[in-house]
Amino acid sequence: EPEVTQTPSHQVTQMGQEVILRCVPISNHLYFYWYRQILGQKVEFLVSFYNNEISEKSEIFDDQFSVERPDGSNFTLKIRSTKLEDSAMYFCASSVGDSGNQPQHFGDGTRLSIL
């Protein structure tokens, strides 16, 4: 079964450094998302992306965050200057685009640790 893949599985970064999280959505999916989950807490929406542009973003997704689809397969989340509170599990998800009759499919996540 097709799946969303994310790399790396774990990223350790010094505060203030830039980090790029990578995702390969399912190939025929049209909508892409990033969510994060701070340890022990619920999953929070960051941003959705469709037709090569951001369709919605949350308050968490400030100027330090950006997303890009640099080619036909990758979808990246960049954090320009990381803060301690950015430590979390980041999940990429994709959906096929049939008005929500199918669920969003999630990758295994990238655990981001900011030191």
Binding site: Y31, V43, F45, S55, S58, D98, G100, P103, Q104, F106
Partner: protein
């Protein structure tokens, strides 16, 4: 702001017993999703409920949706240890392919 609440937050139950997890939400959405998360793992889709009165079953799990009450339930029948996980409900705003707002999660532990 859309709010999604689950209860209980923690549930410890013995194998063979039945129990129900509740998910209340604050908007008039007809779409509700249930996901399972094992520790340190991703979110696995369990059910997609798309209309009032929808009921879906898979093995020992059954999910239902009452859009008038803004309530979904996830019922566990004759629990087995393999069902130990955290269960999340999630709601979007009825247009599909939009952001999901997740509930707080219910951490379920099945005791042999």
């Amino acid at each position: 702001e859309l709010k999604v609440e689950q209860n209980p937050l923690f549930l410890s139950m013995q194998e063979g017993k039945n129990y129900t997890i509740y998910c209340n939400y604050s908007t008039t959405s007809d779409r509700l999703y249930w996901y399972r998360q094992d520790p340190g793992k991703s979110l696995e889709s369990l059910f997609v409920l798309l209309s009032n009165g929808a009921v879906k079953q898979e093995g020992r799990l059954m999910a239902s949706l009452d859009t008038k009450a803004r309530l979904s339930t996830l019922h566990i029948t004759a629990a087995v240890h393999d069902l130990s996980a955290t269960y999340f409900c999630a709601v979007d705003r009825d247009f599909g392919n939009e952001k999901l707002t997740f509930g707080t999660g219910t951490r379920l532990t099945i005791i042999p």
